[in-house]
Amino acid sequence: MRNILVRGVAAGAIALLSLTACSSERTGGDATATSGSTEAAKGFPANSLIGVALPAKTSENWVLAGDLFTNGLKDAGFQSDVQYAGSSTTVADQQAQISAMTTKGAKVIVIGATDAAQLSTQVEAAKQAGATVIAYDRLIKNTQGVDYYVAYDNFKVGELQGQALLDGMAKKKAKGPYTIELFSGSSDDNNSAVFFDGAMSVLKPKIDSGDVVVGSGQTDIKQTATDGWKAENAQRRMDSLLTSTYSSKTLDGVLSPNDTLARAIITSVKGAGKPLPIVTGQDSEVESVKSIVAGEQYSTINKDTRNLVAQTIQMVKDLQAGKTPEVNDTKSYNNGVKVVPSFLLPPMIVTKDNVVEAYANDPNLAPLTK
């Protein structure tokens, strides 16, 4: 706060000047508007502002990512503006934050979208003001304005989750058929379907062959969706599934798209006094790692946020230097109007068996595995 004040007072005179001398952006605007396309070949000053707009702090991952961005960008010599959307008015908040970053002249804006389809106006405005837009973790849809996409390979995540579910159930009970339930993420998140499709690419053949049975019969992504990725919604759905379907049947496994939901599902099952099924997860959240060590949650996915943030910052550095950032996928990610050049990182499945090795390098998680 004090810093801001000092800066503010110092800038007072300039501010008053700009008040009286009506500053027109027309001339500067023309230049950036024409050069605003993907060839960001010229680079920009090393101390430029980099904006990072992340969703509300609903999962540990976003909080961690924010901290990593703040520190990483600072270490790389940039000014950073890292913002989270508010907890209730998420989309509108994020829109306003992106606009504010644009106004402040951010050269690169990294966006972890709250609703990937509702940001096109702001992204385009940012683009036209000369910023490069990187979609972080969630692909921004329906706009030409997004330049790059950085994420873990989410289809792969789904495949790993599906496989882990099968492996876990086989370990517990030698012979099928296995009864499972499916959960997917929030339907406004582009990734939810990718995870789900990935998992289903593994599970579907087994379901068709009768080895695996979905107890409630709810296999459509619309039926399995969890609004807003909210734990309470998953827990509520699990509660009703348990009452409606599993008063006598046993539940062998639950496909859960992430750790927060996995824990909600486990809480629900415990609450109902049923034996714990195999529950998958994703994100390597602290509580879930503990849960895996304790033998409750079966698996999670290690998509080390450090790597993802590091990769993103690397892209920012490349852009600053005037280089074209490295991508490894230029066909898969179509956002509705264009194929966005993407860099995909490989995810890693973690179960009790490999938990020690998996987090050996993680200062937060490593102690939990001992």
């Binding site: 500053s23 952006e25 508007a33 959307a85 989309v91 829109q95 306003a96 606009s99 509702q118």
Partner: protein
């Protein structure tokens, strides 16, 4: 009467609510200048002004309707859900039935009117308190949004996006500015002058005291400076951007509703119902009809706000409208309306809304996180109202009044009986 007193009276009128409005404008100017300094001049830069208008126009449109609802002594908690519901309906009809966008807008308004009629019916004719009816509506239409949209985000076509993300087009010679925006500014300038001139003529016709010429000059000069500055800023933004269409929609609505609430019998009736429903009824005001129309109007405006947001976001999503009712209600109360009804103006609510908007925007420009922004906004809302209540208890009029103390007029004519004073206190108006 000293010159200062005279100036205050004729600039802001003799009545107390106008004095409060002046206080809000004063606060707004102070906040703008503060952030202009704190953000190194970013606050008043063209790009920011443009995004400020397009970001908050839909909230301000809601505030117009909410002001009327609150003046009539009700509340509407369902506006966000109605906005989301209409948004998804409109997006869906355009996507599935390829309805042209302007027809879709009409459909949206009709859906809004139907929802409003539904809510108005319960409030006015059945007598269920608006709080309950709209709380139910909040759930109902949020659920409706999810039911229709399957909690999906549905994109809307380019043409539709104009109402939320569009700008005045570039026409005419290259002047270095957006010509239509300049023209708009000019029209407003003329309107300011004409209005003052007609006001003087009316006072003369009334055979009432006409303010001295120099006061009229000030009353024209200040708005003109603001308008000229604003139009140059808005016209001077990046090529392709200028004054947002949503801002124009807002402006038109402010003018229309300002006129309706001030100058028409219908508008008077809203204030009468909120000020003293029984007295209004005994004066021949059709209470039920007023309540019905006020609630219905709110829903129509909520529908419009919802569509503007969808247009701006290029898609209708399941989280649209969450928390909007609170922003709109906050704007109205910061703008000086009374919780108990009967007091408040459209312009006050717009200024109140702008105070909250500039605060939000300024803090974001400073890089303050949304968690802290929420805390600060909460505190500001509370303090604005609390200061006023506190000062009133101390027998002073309000915080604004105390700001205005040097310009204060003489003590009220005639003694107030204890009962009257009590009643006045009960109507504690809210201002910052």
């Amino acid at each position: 009467m000293s010159r200062v007193k005279e100036l205050q009276k004729s600039l802001f009128g003799g009545t107390t609510s106008n004095a409060r409005q002046f206080g809000m404008i004063f606060t707004l100017v102070a906040i703008v200048l503060l952030f202009q300094i704190l953000t190194d001049g970013l606050t008043l830069n063209p790009g920011n002004l443009i995004s400020l208008v397009s970001q908050y126009s839909y909230i301000l449109i809601l505030a117009i309707g909410m002001l009327m609802v609150i003046v009539a002594g009700h509340i509407d908690l369902s506006v966000g859900s109605i906005a989301a519901f209409v948004g998804i309906v409109v997006a869906k009809v355009m996507q599935e039935y390829s309805v042209p966008w302007f027809v879709a807008i009409l459909i949206g308004l009709v859906v809004g009117a139907l929802i409003g009629a539904w809510q108005g019916f319960w409030v006015a004719y059945v007598g269920v308190p608006a709080f309950i009816v709209t709380l139910a509506g909040m759930l109902l239409f949020r659920g409706g949004n999810q039911y229709i949209g399957n909690a999906d985000t549905i994109p809307v076509p380019e043409g539709f996006r104009t109402i939320g993300a569009g700008f005045l087009p570039e026409v005419g010679p290259n002047t270095g500015y957006n010509n239509l925006t300049l023209l708009l500014g000019l029209v407003i300038c003329v309107a300011v002058v004409v209005r003052e001139w007609r006001g003087r003529r009316t006072r003369r016709e009334m055979q009432a005291e006409v303010a001295p010429m120099w006061i009229s000059v000030i009353r024209i000069a200040i708005p003109l400076v603001v308008v000229v500055f604003a139009s140059l800023q808005f016209a001077g933004g990046r090529v392709g951007t200028s004054f947002p269409i949503s801002g124009i929609i807002l402006g038109v609505l402010v003018v229309i509703y300002g006129f309706v609430t001030r100058n028409t019998a219908g508008g008077r009736h809203i204030y009468a119902v909120g000020g003293n429903a029984r007295a209004a009824e005994l004066s021949g005001v059709k209470l039920k009809r007023v309540n019905f129309l006020v609630m219905m109007n709110m829903s129509v405006l909520a529908a419009l706000a919802g569509m503007i947001f969808v247009a701006r976001s290029a898609a209708s999503g399941p989280q649209d409208g969450i928390g909007w009712e609170l922003d709109a209600i906050a704007a109205v109360f910061v703008g000086g309306a009374a919780v108990s009804g009967g007091l408040g103006t459209i312009s006050g609510s717009i200024v109140g809304g702008l105070v909250m908007a500039v605060l939000n925007n300024g803090l974001q420009l400073m890089g303050v996180g949304s968690d802290r922004v929420q805390i600060i906004k909460g505190v500001v809302l509370l303090l604005a109202v609390a200061f006023d209540a506190y000062n009133k208890k101390q027998g002073r009029f309000s915080v604004i009044d105390s700001l205005m103390r040097p310009f204060r007029r003489d003590t009220p004519t005639g003694a107030e009986s204890p009962a009257e004073a009590g009643q006045e206190r009960g109507k504690s108006p809210v201002a910052g």
